[in-house]
């Protein structure tokens, strides 16, 4: 960053810049890890210093029916929304990658709009509409609503990996007599698979984190992990929340690593990732 013959003032400027960046990184990262030590607190307070080290709050989160049900619901809804969003989103991205796709100018913003529309508006609207159809307070309703919120991520990530895909390959396979479905599974899918999987990871995280839609649509039996945390943060600050937060964070980090590895793999395959 320094010029070949730096002056003192330039050195100071660069040092200040570095210092600022280190502060920003601390601000970004440290808060995320703050709940981790608290989750091993043996006391029942939500503040430092720790009374002692224990795993009792993990036993609470993993052992009590209430938290377990919440974790189960989150995984169930997350899996359902991920599968649906990945399937529908990948199909859509493949359709969009065709240069002959009609009215793309209007369709693309429509597909992206769930990211832009404030989530409270989506949640309230879905709640009122689903209530009429009997879909409120059902797993199916929540999964559908989450699929909507997660699908843009899949469309974008798969779309990006398709932009490096040579469509002539598909033409070649069909000239060689392969049926389109075979062509898709044997040629296209292996090449875009990293994009599809990283879209799926995005979709899962979106659903797994979501709390506003759930707040409106879920009944007591369908409470998810984030909803349980939301109620806890408002009403009953206990270290159990920090334990749940730590578990959720561990899952996020795992998914981040997986997505990064996939991105690297697709780069090695000569395709742009994300």
């Amino acid at each position: 960053m320094l010029s070949p013959y730096p002056t003192t003032s330039e050195r100071i400027r660069v040092a200040a810049l570095w210092f600022w960046c280190v502060l920003v990184l601390i601000f970004l990262v440290v808060p995320i890890f703050v709940p981790v030590p608290l989750s091993f607190n043996s006391g029942s307070f939500f503040t430092f210093p720790l009374a002692g080290v224990s795993t009792r709050w993990y036993e609470v989160v993993l052992g009590t029916p209430r938290w377990r049900a919440a974790i189960g619901n989150s995984l169930l809804i997350g899996a359902g929304a991920t599968v649906l969003a990945t399937f529908l989103g990948t199909l859509t991205a493949i359709g969009l990658s065709d240069p002959k796709f009609p009215a793309r100018r209007f369709v693309v913003p429509l597909l992206i709009s769930p990211l832009i529309v404030p989530v409270v508006v989506t949640a309230v609207g879905t709640y009122l509409f689903y209530a009429r159809l009997g879909l409120a307070n059902t797993y199916a309703g929540i999964i559908l609503a989450h699929t909507v919120l997660a699908s843009p991520f899949v469309v974008v990530t798969v779309g990006a990996s398709l932009s490096g895909f040579d469509r002539n390959l598909m033409r070649a396979t069909s000239i060689l007599g392969a049926r389109p479905l075979t062509g898709f599974f044997r040629v296209m899918l292996p090449l875009i698979l990293p994009g599809v999987l990283s879209g799926a990871a995005f979709a899962f995280v979106t659903s797994f984190d979501e709390v506003v839609v759930v707040q409106f649509l879920a009944n007591a039996q369908q409470r998810t992990l984030p909803l349980e945390m939301f109620t806890g943060l408002r009403e009953q600050l206990s270290p159990a929340i920090t334990a749940a937060a730590t578990l959720m964070m561990a899952l996020s980090i795992l998914l981040l690593i997986v997505a990064n590895l996939l991105a690297r793999r697709s780069r090695q395959a000569g395709l742009p990732a994300e």
Partner: protein
Amino acid sequence: MSSIAMSGVKPRAGATDRSDSLRPLALAAPLLLLLAFSFGAPIVLLLSRAVYEPTIANALPHTIAALRNDSAGVPAEPVFRALADDLKTDQAAGAIYEFAKTLNTRLPGARSQVLRLARLAGQDPAPTREAMIKAAPLLGEDQGWTAIRSGSNRFTSFFLLSAFDLRWTDQGTIGTVPADQAVFTRVFGRTFLIATLVTLATLALAFPLAYVMTNVRPVIAGIVLVLVLLPFWTSILVRTAAWTVILQKYGLLNDLLLWLGMTSDRLELMYSRTGLVIAMTHIQLPFTLLPIYSVMRAVQTSQLRAAQSLGARPFTVFRRVYLPQVMPGVLAGCLLTFILCLGYYITPVLVGGASDQLISNFIANYVNVELNWEMAAALSFVLLASTLGLYVTMTRYLGLDLFKMG
């Protein structure tokens, strides 16, 4: 899938344009249909509630018919007789309470008067005009009848006007609501203010970091990128929980400040605007940073060197050569953060105080607590319009594309 199977066994040179464009559309159709069902329809339904409110018209059919001959002010005897009739019917049908509640949203204090009036209307003989005005003084005033007349139309602008703290006056012009009822202009203003503060804060933090990231070895840049993405992937609830731990009165930040001797008293950071802005800045930082970083990465450093070797001072190079090139990224990042801030709901509830609640919190409150879904719809309409307006401005006029699409 079947569309591929049918049309593509052997590529035919003469395939029509129509089937060519239908095939990709068919692939996108399932998702588009799902979006229409599970996203479009709900929002349209919600927004329609902002302008469609038939309760008053349904409750007072005869009164409204009789009012046609009475264009302004307090009407004459026949209208009152029709009103007594209607109220009697509503009382018997159990519809009176919903009517009273609906009228009350437009005319504070009307509820108890309507109920009193309905009891009176059930008596024999039917009450006189004077007796009715005595039981319900609002019927002797212009504003009472203005509310009934405007309610006779099933389509109403009342809620949308209310969202801007406006209302129809008795003279048929648009005026402001009394100061003690004016809420929403202030709440929208506050929402925009907090969104601006957060956007500026994220920019101040993100710009230098992105710049440094483009000027270090790729390995280090990669590590920093992972550190930036980490919060991005972490649940908003986890991050809000963390900020609760940090901002509490006996939390980490206060401990740190006391230890450093920077304050002598514990600061009130929870349930305050400062705390809210800090937490929101943390959550939004990656959204501002990533677009800036991706644009900065594409800047040709040779141009900067060229400018410098031609004698331009570093600041001039930065302002005249570098800044114009990275501006699209800066605008995209800032607008994305600004737009997302407008819709914040969770963080204000958990970290903000009563005077830091944003428009989304009011929408939820109208749905859940006040049962005034029409008002919630009107506020949603304004929020949605401002959000989409900004988004369209960004993509259309600034030529920015947030999600680089094929």
